[in-house]
């Protein structure tokens, strides 16, 4: 195999060296990735939509402008975009029939950032419909497969993005994380996925699932790429009132500093019965590794953890019930005719939304209804405050918190599809982070034996503590070779 043909296997930082030297062109890189997609995506189904000509046109423009040579960290790098982030002129379906035919009239903030950095926007990756799910099975456009075992799911909801990165169908990808939707698929596909602090990255242009929980973040092949991409995505945006005006550091500067002196908190509530043994063993092994690298381990407690799933499914669904009300057939997307507006709404929404989305809209509507609002929505908000208090106390004793990302490795497609409660429990280790608003990253920390499936380690940091979690993730990654192992495709 020639070098040019292998370009799709490269990381952002590897490509940068070669693009800067002028050894390769952006077009060559883009073509390599497009060839990989053409050869493989029939089996993986990571993409919902792709316009190869458009990607090549972008690549040629970047080559002509020469920006890839002047050291711009992301210049010339093909990036896949989750199908819930608006890119002008492209469809943005959120894997839902209700958005069939909708063409985005504007760029999301993160897309503007990527364009400015000179990235090549690849196609749109599959997801659970409106990001509601943990397996990417709730998609109107088909199920995405885990590159490590095609019978298994890639996790979700950013399953298409994680699978694309793991299968070298993209150099990196954007996902969104409302309750673990970046970290859990990253863990299940063996890549790096980071959920930034709430407010670090603008949500403008991300189709909302649960506004107080959603964040866009990177999915990459290694920690250094994660730091590079996060730096480009981050920043204050006047169009998102919840984005925070805090300076964006050079996250790559945090790498290579080791973990000596860092205190690692281990919450006892996250190592519970029912967890997959191999996964638990891998995570415990990773903690020992961190200790051997000089980190100090602190046992601690997050006492309100058991309420997190319930709180999450009340708040997220309540917000979603309003966020998804705009899909009514009046202005864009699917419209199924009715004799009057109300009938049109019923027909359109009945035909357009899948069962999981309907389930959550009904749940959220119920939680906000007169007579139930105080018992469900208001109580959930109070419990959310208690969970936040748990983390504030915990971070007095430690610099980062380390947990498994998911209780199990990737499960088989269809295994949990009919049992929403089982599915909801796949998120137990990731959702508190969204409720509290802090940051978290998942990195590979081992494999199950038979079949060989990736296991993820979750590192959580304080608000705007991205540098610290990246520093620790990088130190662990450099001391192991999990991230270098690729699926046999």
């Amino acid at each position: 195999m020639t070098i040019a043909m292998m370009l799709h296997t490269q990381t952002i930082h590897e490509l940068r060296v070669r693009l800067r030297r002028g050894d390769i062109s952006v077009r060559e890189v883009t073509q390599a990735v497009l060839d990989r997609i053409a050869g493989l995506d029939g089996r993986i189904k990571a993409y919902n939509w792709l316009n190869a000509d458009d990607a090549l046109t972008q690549a040629e423009a970047i080559d002509r402008a020469g920006v890839a040579k002047d050291g711009n960290p992301l210049a010339g790098v093909p990036i896949a975009i989750k199908d819930s982030i608006n890119v002008v002129g492209q469809p943005c379906t959120c894997a839902s029939k209700i958005l069939q035919g909708y063409i985005a009239p504007y760029d999301a903030f993160v897309i503007r950032q990527l364009r400015r950095a000179g990235a090549v926007l690849l196609g749109r990756t599959n997801m659970d419909e409106f990001a509601m799910g943990s397996s990417t099975e709730n998609s109107s456009w088909g199920v995405t497969r885990n590159p490590w075992d095609l019978e298994r799911i890639p996790g979700g909801s950013s399953g298409g993005s994680a699978a694309a990165v793991a299968a070298d169908e993209a150099i990196a990808a954007l996902g969104s994380d409302t309750g673990g939707s970046i970290r859990q698929p990253a863990a299940l596909c063996g890549c790096v996925g980071l959920k930034p602090t709430y407010g670090r990255v603008s949500r403008y242009g991300l189709v909302a699932f649960a506004s107080s929980l959603d964040q866009i973040g990177p999915l990459t092949k290694d920690v250094e790429d994660c730091a590079v991409l996060l730096g480009v995505l981050s920043g204050h945006d006047v169009k998102d009132s919840t984005s925070v005006a805090q300076a964006v550091p050079d996250y790559t500067q945090a790498l290579g500093k080791g973990v000596k002196g860092l205190r690692v908190g281990i919450p006892k509530e996250y190592f519970v019965a029912g967890m997959d043994r191999e996964a638990e063993a891998a995570v415990r092994g990773a903690i020992q590794k961190l200790q051997s690298l000089g980190a100090e381990v602190v046992e601690l407690s997050l006492p309100h953890t058991e309420y997190a799933v319930a709180v999450y499914y009340l708040i997220a669904t309540a917000e979603a019930s309003a966020n998804l009300a705009r899909f009514d057939g009046v202005r864009y997307g699917l419209r199924v005719a009715g004799d009057d507006p109300i009938e049109m709404y019923r027909q359109t929404r009945g035909a357009g939304f899948g069962p999981e989305v309907k389930r959550r809209i009904i749940l959220g509507t119920y939680a906000l209804s007169a007579g139930y609002h105080d018992a469900y929505y208001l109580r959930a908000q109070k419990a959310r405050t208690l969970i936040r208090g748990d983390f504030e106390k915990a971070f007095e004793k430690c610099d980062v918190i380390v947990t498994p990302t998911s209780p199990t490795a990737a499960f088989k497609a269809g295994e949990k599809a009919d049992d929403p409660l089982q599915m909801y429990l796949s998120d137990i280790f990731t959702i508190s982070v969204n409720l509290v608003g802090i940051c978290g990253v998942s990195i590979p920390c081992g494999f199950t034996v038979n079949p060989k499936l990736p296991i993820g380690l979750q590192i959580l940091g304080k608000s705007f503590g991205e540098e610290t979690i990246l520093r620790m993730a990088h130190a662990y990654e450099q001391a192991t070779d999990w991230h270098k192992q690729r699926p046999n495709l």
Binding site: C94, G205, A208, S211, S241, T242, A322, A325, F327, R331
Partner: protein, 476 residues
């Protein structure tokens, strides 16, 4: 049987801002449909609202003018309901922490006494779009969607159509004077829904609440109520039951008719808007807004009466229009005779403006020039009659009165020697009148006076003419 009427008004007022409440779209009345829109006000997926701070400031200003308590930690809520004029099918509004609470205003009743109307609250929200119905289809114009809208809710202190009229008139006057809104009802900048119920006097529980919509003028509100109250009384007298419903006012026939019957209370499922942060009104911000507080019309009326010695009628006319009041103050401030200024403004100036279909802001006569004119009349340089001619010329040419008087040689003659020449000629030419006067007919002198005025083309001082005539007739 005697009945008591209870009226509550929900007034929606478009706050005067350059852009919409939560996006940068321009506020432009009468633009072609769906031209003042963007992903945010169209409710496109992924778009987010950003608060218009100017709208918040103006709402606080309205609250301060109306004596409300300002909520220093306020927030936004989503009000959920499905309707084609709602881009997101929820409206960003304020539920339990409105910007302004309490307050009220005094209205003047016909008898002259004043009455306090209390306010419940003022909150800020986004306006909805406008639906149009064609023969077989409907359309939605989203230009109006997202305009900043203040909702002012009154306590049920209003008991008659006249009180409702007085309340709305006073409210409009205050909001316009503060620059909060133009309150142009024809442009939909002020919309009013009435809740009206009646009950036999002495009955404790309230009657069924009927909501009336579609009044396009403040006088329409009065007429709608004047129709609706007797209708309800007549129904009760016939033993019918008033049902809780929404009725539509039709202005041309002057009647209300059923729009929809309220079968159940709406559940709007309010919850805090997660896309926006709470509104923090700092002490500094409040102090800044307080500096913008204009004098309220009622207070200005009193000041005009005291400071300029005007009768209540004059003060009322001048204060009703902010620009007119400002014009008057500029002129009166330069004059020793503010009452004369008021007379000139109210009769000559307003008359000319009405004739020319002009507003005071485009008045060709500067306030200082009017003051100068009054000074010329008062100083005897020209007569009042000549003054009116000069004013017509001022209005037409914009020239100063002294220049006009000079150019046209209108200066009043007060030189006794000059006047004596005219008087002598009058006496010489009218022996009969002189004889009549001498015979005791006092009225005959008026003929001689008129003769002098005619000879002088009205330029001589009439008081001096009388004096000189008398002394000459008696002396000779």
């Amino acid at each position: 049987m005697q009945y008591e009427t209870i009226i509550g008004l929900e007034v929606h007022v478009q706050v005067k801002t350059a852009s919409k409440m939560f996006c940068g779209c321009a506020v432009a009345f009468g633009a072609p449909p769906n031209t003042q829109v963007c992903p945010v006000c169209l409710g496109y997926p992924g778009s987010l609202p950003v608060m218009n701070e100017e709208a918040v400031r103006k709402t606080i200003l309205a609250g301060l003018m109306l004596g409300c308590d300002i909520t220093q930690l306020s927030k936004w809520d989503r009000k959920n309901y499905f309707y084609p004029d709602m881009p997101k099918n929820y409206q960003i509004s304020q539920y339990d922490l409105p910007l302004c609470r309490g307050g009220g205003m005094d209205i003047k009743l016909d008898g002259g006494e004043t009455k306090r109307i209390r306010l419940t609250r003022i909150h800020l929200e986004e306006d909805v779009a406008k639906n149009f119905h064609f023969e077989t289809t409907s359309g939605v114009d989203f230009n109006r969607a997202g305009l900043p809208l203040m909702e002012i809710v009154s306590e049920p202190d209003i008991h008659s159509p006249d009180e409702a009229f007085a309340y709305l008139t006073a409210l409009k006057e205050i909001l316009v004077s503060g620059g909060v809104s133009d309150c142009d009802m024809e442009k939909g900048q002020l919309r009013c829904d009435c809740n009206v119920s009646i009950r036999p006097i002495g009955q404790k529980e309230l009657g069924a609440k009927v909501e009336i919509k579609n009044m396009n003028m403040i006088s329409g509100v009065r007429r709608a109520l004047a129709y609706e109250i007797p209708r309800q009384i007549a129904a009760l007298e016939k033993g019918e039951k008033i049902s809780q419903e929404t009725r539509r006012w039709d202005d041309a026939p002057g009647i209300t008719s059923v729009m929809r019957v309220k079968e159940y209370a709406h559940d709007y499922r309010y919850f805090p808007e997660p896309d926006l942060v709470p509104v923090v009104v700092t002490d500094n911000m409040l102090a800044e807004i307080r500096k913008l507080l204009p004098e309220l019309p009622e207070a200005r009326r009193h000041r005009f009466m005291q400071q300029y010695g005007l009768p209540e009628y004059d003060a009322g006319v001048l204060v009703a229009d902010m620009a007119l009041a400002a014009y008057y103050e500029q002129a009166a401030g330069q004059s020793k005779n503010p009452k004369a200024i008021s007379n000139w403004v109210m009769t000559e100036l307003l008359g000319k403006l009405a004739e020319a279909k002009q507003t005071i802001t485009h008045c060709p006569v500067a306030p200082l020039q009017l003051a100068e004119l009054v000074a010329l009349v008062d100083g005897g340089q020209i007569s009042g009659k000549i003054g009116k001619e000069v004013f017509v010329e001022m209005f037409a040419s914009g020239k100063s009165p002294s220049l006009i008087v000079k150019e046209k040689g209108l200066m009043q003659v007060s030189d006794t020697a000059a006047i004596e020449v005219f008087v002598d000629e009058a006496i010489a030419k009218n022996p009969q009148s002189v004889a009549d006067f001498k015979a005791g007919n006092q009225v005959a002198i008026n003929f001689l006076k008129g003769y002098v005025m005619k000879l002088s083309q009205g330029k001589v001082n009439p008081r001096l003419v009388g004096e000189i005539l008398l002394s000459k007739l008696r002396g000779s």
